[in-house]
C-alpha cells in the first residue's frame, strides 16, 4: 500500500491465496488462449455505460466520509464524489481544482483564493463558507482527520469569506508552498454543515446512488460537473481484498477495471488479449530507514557503506519483478524539485568494505525490522541481507506485527523497511526530516537542514526555493538515513474495451484511480 492509503494493515490478506491468479494463468496459457495483442480497442471517447471497478477495501465498516479516506478505494471514491481546492499533477506539482487561482500576500501569510463556478450535487453553489467549514472540520482538535497535519498552519479565526467565491485564508506563519496543503490527501470540500456521509453530497464528477458497505457503491454521472461531465453513465465500486479474485473477475468479464495487481499477474497476461495493464511509474518509494541518532548508523561512513553495497537493480528485478526503477536515495523521482542532477549511485563493494572497516563494523550484526505490511517488504529484506553479507555485514531480519508496524518502527530499532506513496517533496521533508517532524523515522534532526527548509518555504522566489530543495537533497544523498533503492510502478488492469486510463499518474495523484475521463469502448 502506498503513502496515505495506510491501510496496508487492513489489506494484507493479499498473500493468503497468492497463487490463485497464477493457476488460472497457467491453465489459460496451457490451453492456448488467444494471443492477439491488445490493440487500442477502446478507441475514441464514448459516452455511456456502467464501469465496474474492483478495489481492495476496508470491509463492512468502511465509510464514505471523504475526510476519513485512507484506503485506495476510499481515496478513489472521495475524488469521484468530491473535489479539493487543488490536487497533485503528474509530477506532483500543484494543479488548481475548485480553486480557480490563488495569490499570497507579500509576506506569504494571507492567501486569497478565488473559487471556480461549481455546484454541489444538490444544485447549491460551492461557496467560500463551504471551504471554511470543511477546513474547520478537518482541523477540529477533538478529531483526528488525516489532512489535519497539513492544514494545521491555518489560522481559521482570522480567515474569512470575502464574498461567495473568494476566501481569504490566514496562516500562522509564512508558507510559500501553501497550495501543497490545499491538495493534501483528504482535504476535500464538503457542503457547509455536512457531518454524516451515508448519502454524500459533493461537487465531484459522480453523484451518490446506492451503497452496501463492504460490497458495492453505485454512482451516477453529475451532468453539471465544472470540469466537463464524465463519459460514463454509472460507476460501480466493488470490493475484494484478494488480488486473484479481482483478476479472475476481470478475466471473466464480471468487472472492467481491477485496481492494484501484482507484477506477476501483469507479466502473465501481457498480450493475451484478455486484459490491458496500465503502469503508473514512480508510484511507491521503496526504501530502508537507518536511524542516524544511534549506533551503528550514527556513523556516517557506515551509512555511506550501506548506500554503496546496495545493488538497486537486483532489488528492482527481483522484489518488484522489474516493474519499477532504481532509486538514488532521494524521495520523489520525477517529481517537481527532484534533484536529478545528482549522479545515480551504483554498487561499489570495494569502497563499501573499506568504509565498513573504517567504521570498525566488519561482521557487525544489525537488526532489520520488517513485516508483511506492504508488498515486497519481506522479499526486499531477504535480498538486501544477502547483499550486505557480501560487504561483511550481518543483517538479522526481525519480523514485526503488521498491524502496528509503522508505530513500532518510528522510535525503536536501527534499520527498517519503509515505503511511501506520492506527495510533494516539500511534504516529505516537513513530515519526515525536520527536528519537529511527527513521523521522522530516520531521526534526522539537523538545525542547519531545518534552517534550509525554513528558507525554502518562506521564499516567494521559485528559483530560490529550487536552490534550497537542491541543497537539502544533496545533503540527504550524501549522508541521510533514507536508503531509497527503488520506485515501484503501480499496476491497474482493465478490460480491453476500457479507454482513458492515464498512465502518467503516480498513485495518489489526481489522475490515478480517476474515472471521469474513462470510457467504455
Amino acid at each position: 500500500m502506498l503513502f496515505p492509503p495506510v491501510a496496508a494493515p487492513r489489506l494484507s490478506r493479499r498473500g493468503l491465496l497468492g497463487g490463485a491468479a497464477a493457476v488460472s494463468a497457467v491453465l489459460l496459457s496451457g490451453c492456448g488462449a488467444d494471443s492477439t495483442p491488445v490493440t487500442a480497442a477502446s478507441g475514441q471517447p464514448k459516452r455511456g455505460g456502467r464501469l465496474r471497478a474492483a478495489f481492495a477495501g476496508g470491509g463492512a465498516n468502511e465509510t464514505l466520509d471523504p475526510h476519513l479516506a485512507n484506503l485506495f478505494n476510499e481515496a478513489s471514491r472521495a475524488k469521484a464524489m468530491f473535489d479539493k481546492l487543488a490536487d497533485y499533477g503528474p509530477d506532483v506539482s500543484i494543479a488548481p481544482r475548485l480553486a480557480e487561482r490563488w495569490a499570497p500576500s507579500s509576506d506569504l501569510t494571507r492567501w486569497t483564493i478565488t473559487l471556480r463556478q461549481a455546484t454541489f450535487h444538490d444544485g447549491k453553489p460551492v461557496r467560500a463558507a463551504d471551504v471554511l467549514y470543511s477546513y474547520t472540520r478537518i482541523t477540529d482538535p477533538k478529531r483526528a482527520f488525516r489532512a489535519k497535519a497539513s492544514l494545521d498552519m491555518l489560522d481559521l479565526p482570522n480567515s474569512r469569506a470575502v464574498d461567495d467565491r473568494t476566501v481569504e485564508l490566514a496562516l500562522k506563519r509564512p508558507f510559500a508552498e501553501f497550495p501543497n496543503a490545499l491538495a493534501a490527501f483528504g482535504a476535500y470540500i464538503v457542503p457547509e454543515g455536512a457531518d454524516t456521509f451515508e448519502r454524500p453530497v459533493g461537487s465531484g464528477p459522480f453523484t451518490f446512488d446506492s451503497w452496501q458497505p463492504g460490497r458495492t457503491l453505485l454512482l451516477k454521472r453529475h451532468d453539471g460537473y465544472w470540469d466537463g461531465a464524465a463519459h460514463l453513465d454509472e460507476l460501480e465500486y466493488l470490493i475484494s481484498n484478494e488480488e486473484s479474485a479481482r483478476v479472475n473477475a476481470l478475466l471473466a468479464g464480471q468487472v472492467d477495471y481491477a485496481h492494484d495487481i501484482t507484477p506477476t499477474t501483469a507479466r502473465t497476461h501481457t498480450n493475451n488479449g484478455r486484459m490491458s495493464v496500465t503502469r503508473m511509474p514512480n508510484s511507491t518509494m521503496q526504501s530502508f530507514v537507518m536511524k542516524v541518532d544511534r549506533p551503528p548508523f550514527d556513523n556516517r561512513d557506515l551509512r555511506e557503506a550501506m548506500f554503496l553495497l546496495t545493488d538497486r537493480q537486483q532489488l528492482v528485478d527481483t522484489v518488484l519483478a522489474g516493474s519499477g526503477q532504481v532509486g538514488n536515495d532521494l524521495f520523489g523521482k520525477g517529481y517537481q524539485y527532484y534533484a536529478d542532477d545528482i549522479a545515480q549511485r551504483t554498487p561499489d563493494l570495494d569502497r563499501a568494505r573499506f568504509l565498513i572497516d573504517k567504521a570498525g563494523a566488519r561482521g557487525l550484526r544489525i537488526k532489520l525490522d520488517t513485516a508483511p505490511v506492504a508488498s515486497g517488504f519481506v522479499e526486499a529484506a531477504s535480498v538486501f541481507t544477502e547483499q550486505a553479507k557480501q560487504a561483511g555485514l550481518v543483517i538479522e531480519t526481525a519480523m514485526g506485527n503488521k498491524d502496528t508496524y509503522w508505530k513500532d518502527i518510528l522510535n525503536s530499532g536501527v534499520l527498517a523497511s519503509y515505503r511511501s506513496g506520492a506527495m510533494p517533496i516539500e511534504t516529505h521533508i516537513s513530515q519526515r526530516l525536520l527536528t519537529n517532524s511527527t513521523t521522522n523515522a530516520t531521526r534526522w534532526t539537523r538545525p542547519d537542514f531545518d534552517a534550509l527548509y525554513a528558507k525554502a518555504i518562506s521564499s516567494a522566489d521559485e528559483a530560490a526555493r529550487r536552490q534550497a530543495y537542491g541543497d537539502m537533497q544533496r545533503t540527504l544523498h550524501a549522508e541521510g538515513g533514507f536508503l531509497i533503492w527503488g520506485f515501484a510502478d503501480f499496476l491497474v488492469a482493465t478490460a480491453p474495451r476500457v479507454g482513458g486510463v492515464s498512465a502518467n499518474a503516480p498513485a495518489n495523484t489526481l489522475d490515478w484511480a480517476r474515472f471521469d475521463k474513462v470510457w467504455l469502448g
Binding site: 490463485a20 491453465l27 465496474r52 463492512a60 465509510t63 477533538k142 458497505p213 463492504g214 511527527t438
Partner: protein, 314 residues
C-alpha cells in the same frame, strides 16, 4: 431424565459458555499488540494523532471499565458502535450474517440428502464396487484443501471454460444463483465425505443391531425396514457431525468468502480483528458463540429423540 429438563440445563450451560467466550475474547483482543488507534493511524503514527484517536474512541479509559460498559450494553441488547465506521455494529453484521446464513442453508439443503443417500447406497453394497467407489471419491475430495479446490474450480470453470461466474462480485446472491454454484461445490467437498461415511458405518451397525433384527423377524423388509427402523439409529452420530459442519458454515468459511468474494461473517471477523475494532469483534464472537451453542443444543435434542438409549444424555 426427561427432555424439557435436559433442554433447560443445556440452555443455562450455553448462556454461561457465551459469557465466558465473550470475556476470553475481550482479554485476548486487549492482549494483541496495538489498538484501533494505532491501526487507524497507520503509516502516519504521529503520537499526538494516535492520542486524539484514542480519546475520540474512548480507548483511553481503563480496559475493565470498557468491558463493564460493553457488558451492561449487551444486557440491554445493545451491541455497541463500531470503532471504525461509527455505525451501530448490528448494521454491518446483519448483512454479513444474512450472506453466511444463506450460504449455510443452501449447502445443508444439498448436503444432507445427498450425503445420507450416498452413505446408504454404500452400506447397501457393503464391500462392493459402488461402496468402494463412493469411499474413494469422497476421501479424495476430503484430502483436497478448500482453497486448492476453489482455485482449481475457478481456473477451469470460471476463467477458462467460462461456464460459471468465478466470483460473486457485487452480485445479489438470490437473484443470480449461478454465482453460488462453485462456492457450493467447495463447501460440500469435505462434509460429503464425513457425513456419507458416518451414515454408511451407522447403517451397517444398525442393520446388525438387535432391534432391526427383531423387526426383520417380524417380517418388516425393504425400504420400510431401512428408513423406519435402521436409519434413525444410524443418524444419531451423523447429527452430531452435522452440527459440527453447521457450526463451521455459520462461522463463515473465510477461504471460500475471500476467493469467491462473498463477504459473510468470516470476512467481517478478519476485517474487525485486523482493525482492532473491538465492539465488532465482540459482537461477532457472541453471535458465533450463540449459534454454536444453539446448533449443538438442537443436535443433542434431535439425537436424544432419535436414539434415547445411545447415551447422548448422561
Amino acid at each position: 431424565m426427561n427432555l424439557p429438563r435436559y433442554a433447560a440445563g443445556r440452555l443455562l450451560l450455553g448462556l454461561g459458555q457465551v459469557a465466558g467466550i465473550a470475556t476470553i475474547v475481550f482479554v485476548l483482543t486487549e492482549a494483541l499488540p496495538g489498538d484501533a488507534a494505532v491501526v487507524i493511524a497507520g503509516d502516519q503514527p504521529d503520537p499526538a494523532r494516535i492520542a486524539a484517536i484514542r480519546a475520540q474512541l474512548h480507548l483511553d479509559q481503563p480496559a475493565w471499565q470498557r468491558y463493564l460498559d460493553w457488558l451492561s450494553d449487551l444486557l440491554r441488547a445493545d451491541l455497541g458502535v463500531s470503532l471504525i465506521s461509527a455505525r451501530p455494529v448490528t448494521y454491518g453484521l446483519a448483512a454479513s450474517a444474512g450472506v453466511t446464513l444463506l450460504l449455510a442453508a443452501v449447502t445443508l439443503t444439498v448436503l444432507v440428502p445427498l450425503a445420507v443417500a450416498l452413505g446408504m447406497l454404500a452400506a447397501r453394497s457393503e464391500g462392493g464396487r459402488l461402496d468402494r467407489a463412493v469411499s474413494a471419491v469422497s476421501v479424495a475430495l476430503y484430502a483436497v484443501p478448500e482453497f486448492a479446490l476453489a482455485i482449481l474450480l475457478i481456473a477451469v470453470f470460471g476463467v477458462q471454460l467460462g461456464w460459471l461466474p468465478p466470483t460473486a462480485f457485487g452480485a445479489d446472491l438470490l437473484a443470480q444463483p449461478s454465482v453460488l454454484v462453485l462456492p457450493l461445490l467447495v463447501l460440500l467437498a469435505r462434509p460429503i465425505c464425513t457425513i456419507s461415511r458416518l451414515t454408511r458405518a451407522g447403517m451397517i451397525d444398525a442393520l446388525r443391531s438387535e432391534h432391526v433384527r427383531h423387526a426383520r423377524r417380524l417380517g418388516i423388509t425393504g425400504a420400510r425396514l431401512w428408513l423406519r427402523h435402521a436409519l434413525p439409529g444410524a443418524l444419531a452420530p451423523v447429527v452430531q457431525q452435522l452440527a459440527r459442519t453447521t457450526d463451521w458454515l455459520l462461522g463463515g468459511v473465510i477461504v471460500v468468502e475471500a476467493v469467491f468474494v462473498i463477504p459473510g461473517l468470516g470476512t467481517a471477523l478478519v476485517d474487525a480483528v485486523a482493525t482492532r475494532d473491538i465492539p465488532t469483534v465482540q459482537a461477532l464472537c457472541v453471535l458465533i458463540a450463540v449459534s454454536t451453542v444453539a446448533v449443538n443444543l438442537a443436535a443433542d435434542l434431535v439425537a436424544f429423540r432419535l436414539a434415547p438409549r445411545t447415551g447422548a444424555v448422561r
